[in-house]
Amino acid sequence: MASVMSSQEFSLSVADCPLIQIEGWDGTLAQFEKGVSASLGTKLPASVGETVRHRGLLVVRVAPRHLLLALDDGIEAPSLAVDPDLGCSVSLGEGRVRFSMAGAGIARILSRCIAVDWHAPAAAPGRAVQTSLHHVPVLFLRTGETACDLIVPRSFSRSLADWIADSAAASCA
């Protein structure tokens, strides 16, 4: 994990982000998710934006039939036996980068980056929001009262980290 900036007010660090996306076919979704739930050993988030945390694994529902499995550092990918007649999975762990952010100024700084209402229930700790940061799709994960992660496409990550760091620097001046 590389630290881009760090202060009481705001810290930003960047790390790789192991990630698996799974998708169930329309019509047999319940059956599919039952299987996934069993092999992960946890219930799945019911609606888009909900997350479930289980043994170093964060399960996020990103669309009605799509789940993202984000792995903590050092956690082995779970063995998922996906029945191709029910759904599929694709690894996205190489192409995403995780920005971890925290600090007292986080809400103010993020308001200059993304159109997410920090105080809304949809962005409360434990929630996930897919939105855009400077035209780029990002996944916002609220990790605490004054902390959140953004999962961003690797190709844009340097540009977006610059953007956030500049926002933070300007606001702390």
Binding site: E23, W25, R112, S155
Partner: protein, 984 residues
């Protein structure tokens, strides 16, 4: 002249212990914290502040707010220079450098004020009627001078040194306006439990209450209201913030003035543009006082009555001691009374024959002279007023004065609601336009709705606040607001605001539009309000006609002998007050204008002499400087490397899509013009997609990884469009297909090793892998792992050489790139860039962007055989339209240059030999390259089918370089038509 000579010893909302120094036209002046530039100028006895747009008439301070048409100044110097700012909205700050505008050589003596004498020739629209000769281009000559004379301030050409921020915020209830109605609405909504944002353009809350004495009942109500609001945790008070526009989705555009005036916030952005998304909105935007229209009503020291009262009570400035208050309503009498109480000699001229007895009694008490049934008809004075001519029952009389306060009634501020498409409707009882019906979640309160008294505005705001909160589901009980009765009386509306006179009577002060201009517009038939505005330029100034639209409407209605609603209403456009373009752009300037996409090998390219090229948002190596001095030398050298040894190319930017599911093969069969269902597992195929209209959309290769899984690549440019299109088809057209499509573009670093030595390099780089022709034939694939990441090798060629596309997990891209270069060193492997890639594909006759230009079909590109007799794929039916099958339709050919020492160029137009080069020719060259193999230039072209005979000559004409070159029509495949090199 002593400093602050017009300032009262006490009172007002200024800090006398905090003096603020500034300069005006080089003169050093002192005001106080809490002043605006306008109040500080008035306090220092400055009455002449600017010159008008057209006639260069002397102008002073007219208002105390953003409606100011006259007192426009330029603030700052060099890169910070900002023209056309109303002095009435500039919060005074230390060190402000202010210049007056539109005058030369000086404000007091301005040469162009001669325009006033030329006025008869400068009537409305005069320029439409002359400057048409003697020649066709005559206008260009006259225009030069007109342009120089027009324009207000001068903009700097230096880049802006300041920063701007954009912010996204949210609220349950947004309240626009911090006057009595807005304050009351905010309190009610907050008490009901809603998250409230209160927006006030001024640096103080209070609105019109600030015009009341700073030690009176209004002030104590305001103090209490502020304290109460500040006690709510769910209220955000936004001062110095203008709601410049209201947009769909209940989004309000706000601009906050930040660093400019508050030294504590000096490091912050100069302005912040906030997009406030509210669930409901209360508009409490107030009303703007209207002027009266009489001869020379534009002279300095003629002011709106409420403004004069504001300068007196809020800023403790007494701009005049002999005051005429001209009105037809009750409100302006308060200005008279306050001035009289401050020691001025005051006369009220009221249009009404019998003003209310309560007012005349109070006037008598304060020794205010009253002239009933009286109007101002003229005014003397150059740089400040000296004398008015009044006309009343007793005839005309002249009265000396040094300040004229006028009130032509009030116009509700319906700008923001107009932005949302709420049509203003005329209310005869108040003589003004109020908003028509609101849509759900939008409310109005206070004087913008026509409420006339402060007491009613507070009640109205209270109601609106409760309703707006309730709309958001917040309905805790709310205690009644504290009352404030300022004793305003309902007044009859003033419908007549115009009185004829001898001199120019201004309707639009900033644009110098007079009653005569309106008469002329009417005479010439420009009688709809929009024609009037456009013909006379009325309302086109920086104040957007805030004080002029209604008087003009009244004047036109009178001329047309029509009612006001019959005459029309004007539509207000955002922004409410002008907004710096820099604020709207926020931080998205310079390198942040658009985000940059970098491949995993980006840093290597930068460190190793790559010249980079933007492709979409991607940065790609264009060529490497070690290959040659310039791109032309480099690309040929890089081509040679590929043809003779091997080259390494970063192709990570290709779009990559994972296609999975039981119906994946059926799906691809429908989206590609060529078939994929029968593609064996482990094989790749080149595919072309069409649009629904039969035109080629994109191309790429797709590999069957497993029975139910494919790996699709797209062009760099179309990656996002292709994915979205596939999702569209799956969601809306064929929901029965069980297929998942996922972008994996960022997932893989991709690089191509191309050239006769590529196989040997792969063997060296991956000693454990079998990359022999048997294990990895042309169009074959290999899956493995490298350094713990997935590795995929596809044997595909774009250049025509034996070549391999190597995909590895993006985190290992840089590492593998270096590994390949290292392994390839013995084989002369060198990196090559986009230019060489393009050249190689031209030599091989592959089409790309210049040929797939959104107008070509499969057949045009010589790819018709790919579809063969297939049907049922996207675009199949419309690609058979008659015009697409016409024999003269342009199709792809190859051209080779047959003149020594000459070259082909992309964009050259093709003609038959001997044909006169005129018109659109027979086709064009789309792509060219120097062919090291052939020793001359070759190119691809789109050429009319009826003349595209291989072996014939064609002439390529390039007028921009005055070139005509002979070329021979040949097959587009210049190199190795049998494809032997693919296996070489």
């Amino acid at each position: 002249m002593s400093s602050n000579q017009k300032r009262l010893a006490a009172g007002g909302r200024i800090s006398r212990e905090q003096p603020v120094e500034f300069t005006f036209d080089g003169r050093r002046l002192v005001g106080y914290r809490g002043d605006t530039l306008a109040s500080a100028l008035l306090a220092n006895g400055v009455t002449l502040v600017g010159r008008s747009f057209k006639y260069h008439r002397p102008r002073g301070i007219f208002s105390a707010g953003p409606e100011e048409p006259n007192a426009l100044v330029t603030l700052g110097t060099a890169g910070r220079r900002e023209p056309n700012l109303p002095a009435t909205t500039l919060e005074l700050a230390d060190g402000m450098v202010v210049e007056s505008q539109n005058r030369w050589p000086s404000l007091a003596f301005d040469v162009q004020s001669i325009n006033s004498l030329l006025a008869p020739f400068l009537s409305a629209g005069f320029y439409y009627k002359m400057f048409m000769g003697p020649t066709r281009r005559a206008w260009m000559f006259y225009e030069h001078f007109i342009r120089k004379a027009a324009g207000l301030g001068r903009a700097g050409t230096d880049p802006d040194p300041d920063r701007y921020e954009v912010r996204h915020t949210f609220a349950d209830v947004a309240i626009v306006g911090g006057g009595p109605a807005g304050l009351s609405a905010a309190r009610a909504a907050a008490a009901a439990g809603a998250r409230v944002a209160l927006i006030e353009q001024d640096f103080l809350l209070g609105g019109q209450l600030l015009a009341d004495p700073s030690d009176g009942v209004a002030a104590s109500w305001l103090r209490q209201a502020k304290a109460e609001l500040e006690s709510f945790e769910n209220v955000t008070l936004m001062r110095r913030t203008t709601a410049f526009g209201a947009y769909d989705g209940n989004v309000i555009g706000l601009v906050e003035q930040c660093g400019q005036t508050d030294p504590q916030r000096a490091g912050e952005a100069r302005q912040t543009f906030t997009m406030l998304r509210a669930r409901s909105i209360v508009f409490a935007t107030g009303a703007i006082e209207r002027p009266m229209v009489f001869s020379n009503n534009d002279r300095p020291s003629v002011m709106l009555a409420s403004a004069a009262r504001t300068y007196l009570n809020r800023y403790a400035v007494l701009p005049g001691k002999k005051v005429i208050v001209a009105t037809g309503n009750d409100g302006a009498w308060r200005t008279a009374f306050d001035y009289a109480a401050s020691g001025a000699e005051v006369m009220v001229a009221d249009l009404r024959a019998a003003p209310p007895a309560a007012l005349t009694a109070e006037a008598a008490r304060l020794r205010v002279a009253v002239r009933a049934g009286t109007r101002i008809v003229d005014l003397d004075g150059g740089h400040a007023v000296r004398r008015t001519t009044l006309a009343g029952p007793g005839g005309e009389s002249q009265t000396a004065c040094d300040l004229v306060c006028m009130s032509g009634g009030w116009s509700p501020t319906v700008h923001l609601t107009s932005h949302l498409g709420v049509k203003p409707v005329y209310r005869d009882d108040i003589g003004g336009f109020v908003p028509g019906a609101f849509t759900a979640g939008r409310f109005g309160a206070g004087s913008m709705m026509g409420t006339h008294s402060t007491a009613d505005a507070i009640d109205d705001g209270h109601r609106a606040g409760i309703e707006a909160a309730s709309f958001c589901g917040k309905s805790a009980s709310v205690p009644a607001p504290s009352k404030l009765d300022l004793g305003e009386t309902a007044t009859a509306p003033l419908r007549e605001i115009s009185s004829a006179g001898r001199g120019k009577a201004f309707v639009d002060f900033q644009m110098d539009v007079t009653t005569k201009d309106i008469e002329l517009a009417h005479r010439e038939g420009y009688e709809s309000v929009e024609h009037l505005k456009r013909y006379t330029t009325l309302g086109m100034g920086t104040d957007q006609g805030k004080t002029s639209n209604f008087p003009a409407l009244v004047a036109m209605a009178a001329l047309r002998n029509a009612t006001i609603p019959e005459t029309g209403a004007t539509t207000f456009r955002p922004p409410y007050t002008p907004v710096a373009i820099g604020a709207l752009a926020g931080r998205a300037t310079g390198h942040h204008f658009k985000p940059i996409r970098r491949t995993p090998m980006h840093d290597w390219h930068m460190a190793n002499g790559a010249e980079m090229l933007e492709v979409g948002l991607w940065m790609r190596p264009y060529f490497y400087r070690q290959s040659g001095r310039d791109v032309n030398e480099a690309y040929v050298a890089e081509m040679r490397t590929v043809r003779q040894a091997a080259g390494l190319m970063d192709i990570s930017t290709l779009g990559k899509i994972d296609v999975q599911g039981p119906d994946a093969a059926i799906f691809l069969d429908r989206v590609y013009a060529n078939g994929f269902a029968k593609l064996p597992v482990g094989r790749a195929r080149y595919g072309v997609m069409l649009r629904d209209d039969g035109i080629v959309f994109d191309d790429g290769t797709t590999t069957r990884l497993a029975e139910n899984r494919f790996f699709m690549t797209t062009s760099t440019a179309k990656a996002a469009d292709v994915l979205s299109r596939l999702e569209f088809l799956l969601d809306t057209a064929w929901p029965d297909l069980r297929v998942a499509v996922t972008s994996v573009s960022d997932e893989w670093a991709a690089m191509s090793v191309a050239g006769p030595k590529s196989c040997a390099i792969l063997s060296a780089a991956f000693p454990a892998l079998d990359v022999s022709d048997e294990a990895l034939p042309h169009m074959g694939r290999l899956e493995s792992e490298w350094e713990g990441r997935a590795l995929r090798i596809l044997r595909l060629s774009y250049s025509g050489e034996r070549a391999y596309e190597i995909y590895v997990g993006a985190t290992a891209g840089g590492q593998l790139w270096s590994r390949l270069l290292e392994a390839g060193r013995a084989f002369d492997l060198k990196p090559y860039g986009v230019e060489a890639l393009g050249a190689l594909r031209v030599e091989k006759g592959h089409v790309a962007g210049p040929e797939i230009d959104g107008r070509t079909t499969l057949d045009d590109l010589g790819l018709g055989r790919m579809a063969g007799k297939r049907t049922g794929f996207v675009g199949d039916v419309l690609r058979r339209r008659p015009a697409y099958l016409a024999p003269y339709r342009q199709r792809l050919v190859g051209l080779e240059c047959i003149e020594d020492g000459k070259r082909l160029r992309g964009g050259a137009i093709l003609f038959l030999p001997g044909e006169k080069p005129y018109g659109h020719g027979r086709g064009r060259i789309t792509s060219v390259t120097f062919s090291p193999e052939r020793g001359h230039y070759v190119g691809l072209a789109l050429l009319a089918g009826d003349v595209a005979v291989e072996g014939n000559e064609i002439t390529a004409v390039y007028p921009m370089k005055d070139e005509t070159v002979r070329a021979r029509i040949v097959s587009p495949v210049f190199l190795d038509p049998q494809g032997e090199r693919l296996h070489g």
